[in-house]
Amino acid sequence: MTNFLQLCFAGLALGALYALVALGFVVIYKATGVINFAQGGLVLLGAYLTYNFRQTWGLPFFLCIPLAMIACALVGAAVERFVLRWMVGQPAFAVIMVTIGLLFVIEQIVTGVWGFDRLNMGDPWGIRAVELGDVVVAVKDIWTVVFAAAVMLAFFLFFRYSNLGVAMRATAFDQEAAIAQGISARRIFALSWAIAGAVATLAGVMLASGGGGVRPDIQYIALLAFPAIILGGLDSPAGAVVGGIIIGLTQTLTAGYQPTHFPELGTGFSAVMPYFVMIVILMVRPYGLFGTKEVRRV
């Protein structure tokens, strides 16, 4: 039982990370209809920027995070302005490939500047843990869950009550009608990329803290988050969070029980389990659990 609870909490923390990454995907998809494969690059950039502010410039950690979020948001907006804007109206496939191309460029710029070595984030959590009954919970994992919850709340309030948020929803719903209402679609597009950059930074920081270290590998979290967004539906923020947590739990529980109970599925099955779940779900519901069904017109 302790084992199960321990795994569940680990799954929840991992799921919260996926949710943070997935929210970045969703906000861009919702506003612009683009699946952003460069999200992993933004995660990477955010983590390294935080490292730079913290370790190279020696700023206080909790100041570094918002600074890096702002910087990464600016990068996101710039990418939209100077690259993606040219792709408006192009087929989905072409836009996906542009973001993949961007991922390669961002990745190499980051490793070119900061190298391949594991760097210490300098976060205050380190390897500290607290005991809740029999279950040992890392302080860093608690913060991850807190951040994910805070971001989700912020998303909810933003889309519900702020003018910009409502404008974004309107643009996502019907671009032409929104423009006719005087909403600047350009501003909305740039804003969605900026938000994605900021959220990605948080994901990157949480991945690299707690002794894990800042390293180029952390970008792969974005590939692992795909099943989460597909599961939740590409355009649903709530779906992203639910999908993230389901995938996180599935993955950790699979890793915990499959090697002893179903060894015939092979080592490392937990890493592909999310994709397995994703394929099955898509066969049943082609637009995810919470996604909007596309209307096909001839």
């Binding site: 084992n3 321990q6 795994l7 680990a10 991992l14 490793t111 391949f116 070595d117 594991r118 210490n120 380190g126 390897i127 500290r128 843990a129 005991e131 040992v136 890392a138 860093k140 994992d141 991945l207 707690g210 002794g211 894990g212 270290g213 390293r215 180029p216 590998d217 952390i218 792969y220 979290i221 692992l224 993955q251 950790t252 699979t254 890793a255 915990g256 090697p259 002893t260 080592t267 490392g268 937990s270 890493a271």
Partner: protein
């Protein structure tokens, strides 16, 4: 009619092509030869006029494994600079020129890099990584070229085209287990392994299992993981649930960090013993430092950095200071340095035998005798492939963040009885 014209044209061209092809093909001899009376003749990668010996290096200089490849290659470079500057070159007259290729630890890239420079080099002074070596090996055999692998797999011992140095991974783990039971307070504890799910991990596992049989303990649980997995909670949890008190870890530094991070955060503190490539100096200075100092040992070779009682260490630090002062202390640097030393010993033998051709290098390897490393690595006896005898010595280190690469010798250069019994099988 039209179609027939076209066909006729193709036929003509095809014949033309064959004729021209006939003129260009068939360069069979590789230009190598042995001198009659000590006079060295030209061979691929060796020019008797310029007196330069060209050597290839295939190493990951970018990517996650660059943390190993870069210092290791720097070790090669410093040694050869020392040979060129202070000794006047191989055998006092042939300068070494290195050709560096970046494999990114991807076998396919290693194969392409190999093809790119194989005709420009006498041999390969470094070929890093078990998968890359496996990938290049069939071609090494076909081309009859020698390469020195920068990995410690037991299979390399009996490969005629490879020039390995150091005690194989199996030996490290056997000696580590022996030390643990004899002196490391490991008697009666629950033993487990955590291994990377590939050939490299398998080598360590084989060593532990051999030791288990010889020394009479059982491996209670084995957690496997794929290199580069971002989250190892479940694997660590598996070991924790099994009640492991000792864990033999076969990984590379990135995964070591991930695994120990999870272990530390969930307050799982067994005695970890890592195979040499699982550790890197940066780990000691990370937030994990105190955890490692309390719970982690490394099974490796040679001595701790800066141990002036070992003559080889003194020389190495002098040469490092002279030729690459900005290189931070690093375990892999020492490996690369020793490797280049081994290559030099073989090349000098080849010069002595008067043949720097590919076949000549292989012959030199058989006749070079025992390679020695001034206390930095165990003696390696060469001869015919069946006669090769790798060192069976290991050194156990503990983690001390105050030391240059964070490691401090616990037991220096010993050979356990179990390690003496391990057989290296021919392929």
């Amino acid at each position: 009619m039209k179609r027939r014209n076209l066909l006729r044209l193709f036929a003509v061209l095809f014949t033309l092509g064959l004729v021209a092809a006939g003129c260009g093909g068939g360069d069979d001899d590789d230009g190598a030869g042995s001198g009659d009376n000590g006079e060295l003749t030209a061979a691929p990668g060796f020019d008797p006029v310029t007196k330069e010996i060209h050597l290839g290096i295939i190493s990951p200089l970018t990517g996650p494994v660059a943390a190993i490849g870069k210092p290791l290659t720097a070790g090669n470079e410093v040694w050869f600079k020392y040979i060129n500057e202070e000794k006047g070159g191989i055998a006092g007259e042939y300068k070494v020129v290195l050709h560096l290729e970046d494999s990114q630890y991807v076998p396919q890239n290693a194969v392409q890099a190999y093809n790119k420079i194989k005709n420009d080099v006498v041999m390969f002074a470094q070929l890093l990584g078990t998968p890359s070596t496996n990938a290049v090996l069939p071609q090494l055999k076909a081309d009859n070229i020698v390469a020195s692998p920068a990995s410690l797999d037991a299979e390399w011992v009996r490969e005629p085209n490879l020039l390995p140095i150091g005690g194989p991974y199996q030996i490290q783990m056997i000696n580590a287990a022996d030390w643990l039971l004899e002196e490391g307070n490991g008697e009666g504890k629950t033993m487990c392994t955590m291994i990377q799910d590939d050939v490299y991990g398998q080598a360590g596992q084989q060593g532990v299992e051999f030791a288990a049989k010889e020394l009479g303990f059982t491996v209670k649980s084995t957690a496997r993981f794929k290199a580069g997995t971002p989250d190892l909670t479940a694997q660590v949890q598996q070991l924790k649930t099994a009640g492991c008190q000792v864990v033999f870890l076969v990984s590379t530094p990135t995964d070591t960090g991930t695994a120990l991070g999870v272990a530390a955060r969930t307050q799982f503190a067994p005695q970890w013993i890592g195979q040499s490539p699982s550790y890197i100096g940066a780990l000691a200075s990370s937030p994990l430092g105190p955890y490692l100092a309390a719970n982690f040992y490394v099974a490796g070779e040679g001595t701790e950095w800066g141990d002036m009682s070992v003559p080889g260490m003194r020389d190495m630090l002098d040469r490092l200071q002279a030729y690459q002062p900005n290189q931070p202390p690093d375990y892999y640097f020492a490996f690369g340095y020793n490797q280049a030393n081994a290559v030099t010993q073989v090349l000098e033998k080849a010069v002595e035998l008067g043949d720097l051709s590919r076949a000549g290098i292989k012959k030199a390897m058989e006749e070079v005798g025992t390679l020695t490393f001034a206390g930095l690595s165990g003696d390696y006896k060469y001869g015919t492939v069946a006669e090769r005898e790798p060192p069976r010595t290991s050194t156990i280190f503990k983690i001390n963040p105050a030391k240059p690469i964070g490691i401090e010798t616990v037991k220096y250069n010993f050979t356990s009885d179990a390690a003496k019994k391990f057989e290296f099988e021919a392929d």
